[in-house]
């Protein structure tokens, strides 16, 4: 029993260590270091030795001294097993093994005798591995997007693995792609259009949605149930089936290539979600507060303006942010409706740039950074509101 759990512990922990070190090596390779071998087997073996040493030493010496000592020995043996590598890389290896041995703290010859210890070991390390894995898989493309925008096409064709940034260059050199897309490709204008459309959509949507949501939440009228169920069904219907009729009608009305046309479509497609989210919140406001308002002789306009809106600001904020994000990220309608570069939104402009195979990739990525950064900043800053918005408006993209 004890031997089996020890073996599992050694294999799993060493596997985890090998994974992190491989990711570290990949990241270092992308800084221009010329590694050509992941050396998985030797690292796995010395990882096993490291874990074994950790468990065998146990509590005989102070934990801090123990992990420092073990990590130091591990880093040195790693240095000799590996291809020639600079000191900063080995220092990274040292930090990783320090982190790793610290995580081993709860394991000792004693704890390996517990019930279900092998399952617990597997769960523990899978959790750790999962976090590293998910963080890496998610952040890696964003990282590549950012660094590519600072490189040049030629440098990347020569060595597609060298993403190191040359900080000795002047700032104008480094940010050249950004200057180019603003000066040559008019991105300043597209940022303005995208902001105008998104903010406009938020305002118009709220203007339509707040009264409608109030009516659905509070008032009795014929067709109310039908309305609230059809809201759910309507936003299941995809944009792609609306495209052809809207395109033909908008062509005849001359609404294509106009910001106004885009605004109407965005508002109409986000309205169901907005109403759905708001009416849920409005229902949670105690009715007595409104009754007091009615006593004071307020009409529905006054009630909405003076009671409902101030009380539901958090919900309105999350609806506004959510609608802003949908409108800012929207691509299908802007692809269909906008042909003239004069009226492009950011997403459409980037797609237009990519249509020309000659466009260097750093411009494309600089454009992508520009369209992504505002959304991510808003998301990070207002995460609390947005998460509640996302969960409520679950079904809409």
């Amino acid at each position: 029993m004890k031997f089996k759990s020890l073996a599992i512990f050694l294999i799993i922990s060493s596997f985890f260590l090998t994974c992190i070190l491989s990711i570290w090596k990949i990241m270092a390779t992308l800084q221009g270091l010329s590694f050509t071998n992941l050396n998985i087997t030797p690292i796995f073996l010395i990882g096993i030795l490291l874990s074994l040493a950790f468990v065998l030493i146990g509590n005989k010496i102070n934990h801090l001294i123990k992990i420092l000592l073990l990590s130091f020995i591990f880093s040195i043996s790693y240095f000799y097993l590996n291809e020639a590598s600079p000191y900063w890389y080995i220092f990274g290896v040292f930090l990783i093994s320090l982190f790793f041995t610290n995580k081993l703290k709860r394991y000792s010859t004693q704890s390996l005798k517990e019930d279900f210890i092998s399952e617990k070991i597997i769960f523990d390390f899978i959790t750790l591995f999962g976090i590293v894995f998910f963080a890496f898989v998610i952040l890696f493309p964003f990282y590549i997007m950012l660094v590519t925008s600072f490189k040049t096409q030629i440098a990347l064709l020569v060595n597609p693995l060298d993403f190191s940034l040359d900080f000795t260059k002047s700032l104008t050199e480094l940010f050249k792609s950004y200057f180019v897309i603003f000066e040559t490709y008019n991105f300043g204008r597209y940022i303005l259009i995208s902001s105008a459309v998104s903010i406009g959509t938020v305002i118009v949507t709220l203007l339509f949605a707040i009264p409608a949501a109030y009516a659905v939440a509070r008032l009795n009228f014929f067709g109310k149930n039908f309305l609230s169920t059809s809201i759910l069904i309507i936003y299941m219907f995809p944009a792609i089936v609306l495209v052809i009729p809207l395109y033909t009608v908008f062509s005849q009305l001359g609404l294509r290539n106009s910001i106004f046309g885009l605004l109407i479509v965005y508002t109409a497609t986000t309205l169901p979600v907005a109403i759905y989210m708001l009416q849920g919140y409005f229902k949670s406001i105690p009715k007595e507060i409104e009754d007091a308002g009615i006593m004071d002789g307020q009409n529905w306009f006054g009630i909405i303006l003076k009671i409902i809106i101030p009380l539901s600001l958090p919900a309105i904020a999350s609806v506004a942010l959510y609608v802003f994000m949908i409108a800012w990220n929207e691509f299908l309608f802007s692809l269909m409706f906008l042909d003239s570069p004069k009226s492009f939104t950011l997403s459409r402009a980037i797609q237009y740039l990519s249509g020309d195979a000659e466009t260097p990739r750093q411009y494309l990525m600089a454009g992508s950074v520009i369209v992504t950064v505002p959304v991510l900043l808003i998301f990070i800053y207002f995460e609390k509101y947005l998460v509640s918005g996302l969960t409520a408006g679950s079904v809409k993209e």
Partner: protein, 419 residues
Amino acid sequence: MSDSLSKLEKRTAYTLVLPAVLLVFAIVLFPIFANVWISFKDIELKDIRIPEPRAKKIVKSISEDQSELKIIYKLRNSSLIQEIRYVQFQDKFPTNVSPVNLDPRCDFQSKKIVCNFGNWHAKYKENFEITVVNNKGEIIDKKIIKSQKPILSGKADNPLLTTNFTLENFKKVFYENNFVELLLTTFYFTFFGTVGAIIFGILAAQLVNQNIQGRTYMRGILLFPYVGPVVALAYTWTLLLDPNSGTLNALLVNFNIIEQPINLLGQKYITMSILGFEFKLRLALTTVIFFEIWRYFPLAFLFILARLQAIPQSLYEAAEVDGASPIQKFIHITLPQITAIISILFMIRFIWNFNKFEDIFLLTGGASGTRTLPINVYQQGFAVSDIGMGSAVSIVIVMLLLSFMVIYFRLIGKRANEV
């Protein structure tokens, strides 16, 4: 008293609801019905404009002293398929300038020429000439004549509103469009994209739900792919996966994991052999499915996490006392608690993946075996410019969607209320 109150309440409710309802009706519901109409028509992209009479004015001098000018109007019907009725033409001239030998269809009165051209059939073209002279023999300024634009008007049917219908589009959809292949691709994409997103969502939620440091940051980071703009993310992935200088292929070749770069987005099939069995994998489709999973597992994650956090801790403590292993706890406590939300997520994601257009369009454009039904709508309607056919495909999508929804509400609808 209460009667009039409830009447007032109703009136108020309708005033509040109506603007939103009308807008949604015009932009969302009307097009769905309009698709039915268009799908039965033989109509192409170039036909959708209402036909209008057009004229191009050319001015030539025909006498030495420039007191006599010839004006040629190149007249045409803008439509290739429809006639314009009662075409009227009107052009103005400066004082003292008047036409000679005017066409019998026209009248000259007080500095104006007005013509009735009657009906113009489709593709109609005519070079219509007028000679004008200055009554006093002075020079006529060509620029003034040229800057005056003729006004034309006529009556034409809106090509969308005519009543000739055809079943041709649906025949083409089902028989000439590789329909079975199209449907299968759509289902592969939808099904595996949905299942993958949910599996990764469960894993991620399970991870974040544990007591780890920085779990709020982790939750934020996990949602990045979902909140980022699809255009930026799709192009970043295209760059990453590029066979010539993409980072992923370069890394794999560098570490000798593969010998030749793989064109992950441009190759339809790849032959794999597992345990001696050789089989063909839809490579580009698989890559697109993975992108889809990457982008949408955060939503599944968010929902499942919210559910996990609502499970009372006492359940786990009781299981601990009974000596349950971690796996037993997951199977007997966690899973039953999240099945309801998973079934809802499955249906929602299934419907949305079924309609996914942007992701595939930006990654492959529907090439290399990634043509799904929504991509087909775009290809038929805008690449081939056959609007009728595109609408017919849309109708097929709507029909399939409606049947999914019926199944959904039959099977899970009751459960949805419990969550």
